[in-house]
Symmetry: C2
């Protein structure tokens, strides 16, 4: 009998002659976690113990180990998928999690984005161009200051105004007051100027708290949220997206680390799998160090045909500026969202003008279809 | 006016001449995340922007940057503390989070262990010696197989029998049936043999799901749980421990990574801060690569006098064996819990004998007080 299995690729930083042996130890570590010779249940050995499919030496001296994990060890629990993929071996520095492919049924259970690229375009009436996004900064601001920013950004026609990821429930602008005031400011601007801006507040705490935050915000008409899956646990994102199938989530990479889980896998595939409609990642040439190839792979995975899941919007970010819009459009095409935060705010008194310049640069036709 | 601040130490992997500048960028990244010159609110600059206290070149070519973060950016949200400490800079490979010191009031709000070492000793009637712990393996086993293991381990007098961290709600042994059967097996053995073994099931999923699991298990008399804070989110651990102040949590290091957050900080201090009564860590000389000094620092932080929080039990694990008990006792003293899993199960037919040998080796007087 064949059993559903998850294909996992690990990069092993060991001498080529050790790679086969290391892969077998890894298969034990990430499944039964005890000596196979001490297991007397035939079914466990046949169907639960991870298998080493093959080990391939690479030109850079590492090896790629292709393992198969039993799908039954995961069920439909997103946290448990992370646990089986990388729980223990996250503690073993000679192992990187490079790639994952899932059985179709498992991908359907996690379900991917609720709205995806098409849904986010419908919400914001943004067609044939990248979406524009900015962030409410700095933390420490008052509710009135943030609402004023919302008015300026919405009036300039920015599609998505998100909370900075540092916003939780701070006393300078507590979640309920902040969210109500920002949403009202955006709605007022939309009415006055015919814009379709959406405001996306930042979820924080546990699933219990986030559920309350989502319900509270939905009662105000909010339909998009910012969430940091590696901080709150990927299971919380997946649970929220199942509970609210008409809501979109922008995933933030806080705590997502720099490398031991390949960013194209984590930000490109897994966040989408668990329900991110848009995925923020640190673009090359900003304050972070991902390579151009890595960033392009993230964007490719976000949008690729994959198990029938909706496509997610890649969101290059982290030190972007209006001057880079043309380059970003040429690199990522129109199915992306461009996030410019601090660099807009640096315009000070000329924030409105700078925000309009951002919107205009993104809308400019000639550069759209690279 | 002085405002409450969090002292944070980051290790910077940059040239010494760049360290001051890098530290200032980091202070911005981990607080207001926008150019300070664009902030016109004096309060934000004075009280919210992180400060660089000093930067010290180290003999190994790195520098230690001592920053102060404003406590108001965190509030009482454990996930938000992680976010402010390491959210964005987790994506910057030249930065490691080395150490943290908190205001007393913040430590009190997180609250630390519910029961701590003393409480776990009371639960298990284990006095003057390390506690003993083993794990139910392999995943894929049936409920009957696991209950049989529980009987054998409890009869041998092992103090804590925990689910392997790979247990979630798999169909071979779903959580409700597994927990009921294992707890009954342990209680029956305790009645029959006068032992005080406790069974600790593995929590999985989100805070909502874990809350149900805890309530279900508590109705059966269960008072100790296994949880992986870096997988479910540290906020979930902290919320559960506040909701159930008479319950103990054993923290598992799954997904905790190998190094960018210093293990003595993460496993030694932060897990305890958020409510871990016992902290499993990969001991040196096993399947993992933490150094002896790193392991000893974890144990030291678990037990140190700190903000009046209860002490947590360090749990060296990961490939330990009965043969190493004397060495482990001499290294960690009696205030620890020794976890031997796979190596007991490898005894096969002689599991009961091997389990008794484990208990006897730990109880042996002459080696206790190193």
């Amino acid at each position: 009998m064949t059993v559903p299995r998850i294909d996992v690729v690990y990069r092993l930083h060991v001498a080529a002659g050790q790679a086969e042996h290391r892969a077998r130890l890894l298969a034990v570590e990430q499944s039964i976690e005890m000596p196979p010779e001490a297991v007397d249940d035939r079914r466990v050995l046949d169907q639960v113990l991870a298998r080493v499919e093959r080990v391939e030496a690479q030109a850079d001296g590492t090896s790629l180990a292709r393992l198969q994990l039993a799908a039954e060890t995961v069920g439909d629990d997103a946290g448990q998928l992370m646990n089986m993929l990388f729980g223990n071996c996250s503690l073993q520095p000679d192992v990187e999690l490079a790639d994952v492919e899932l059985p179709d049924a498992m991908a359907q259970r996690f379900g991917g984005p609720n709205l995806g690229i098409d849904g986010l375009r419908r919400l914001t009436a943004a067609v044939g161009r990248p979406l524009t996004c900015t962030a409410l900064k700095p933390i420490g601001s008052t509710v009135a200051q943030l609402a004023a920013l919302c008015r300026t950004f919405a009036r300039a026609g920015i599609d998505v105004i998100k909370d900075d990821h540092g916003w939780a429930n701070q006393r300078s602008a507590p979640f309920p007051e902040r969210v109500a005031a920002c949403q009202r400011a955006v709605q007022d601007a939309n009415s006055a100027f015919g814009s379709h801006t959406v405001y996306a507040p930042s979820l924080h705490g546990t699933h219990v708290q986030m559920r309350q935050q989502v319900e509270q915000a939905r009662s105000l008409g909010i339909a998009v949220f910012l969430i940091a899956p590696m901080n709150c646990g990927v299971a919380s994102l997946n649970a929220l997206k199942r509970e609210h199938p008409d809501v979109a989530f922008i995933a933030h990479p806080a705590l997502a680390g720099a490398g031991r889980i390949a960013p194209p896998l984590l930000l490109g595939k897994l966040f989408r799998l668990f329900g991110a409609d848009a995925v923020i990642f640190p673009n090359h040439g900003g304050r972070f160090t991902y390579s151009a190839a890595c960033c392009q792979a993230i964007a490719r995975h976000n949008r690729a045909t994959w198990h029938g899941l909706r496509a997610a919007l890649p969101v290059p970010a982290g030190g972007m500026s209006v001057e880079r819009v043309a380059e970003l459009k040429s690199e990522y095409g129109s199915d992306c969202m461009l996030l410019i935060g601090g660099s807009l705010l640096a315009a000070g008194d000329r924030l409105a003008e700078r925000s309009r310049a951002f919107v205009a640069a993104v809308a400019r036709r000639e550069e759209v279809d690279a």
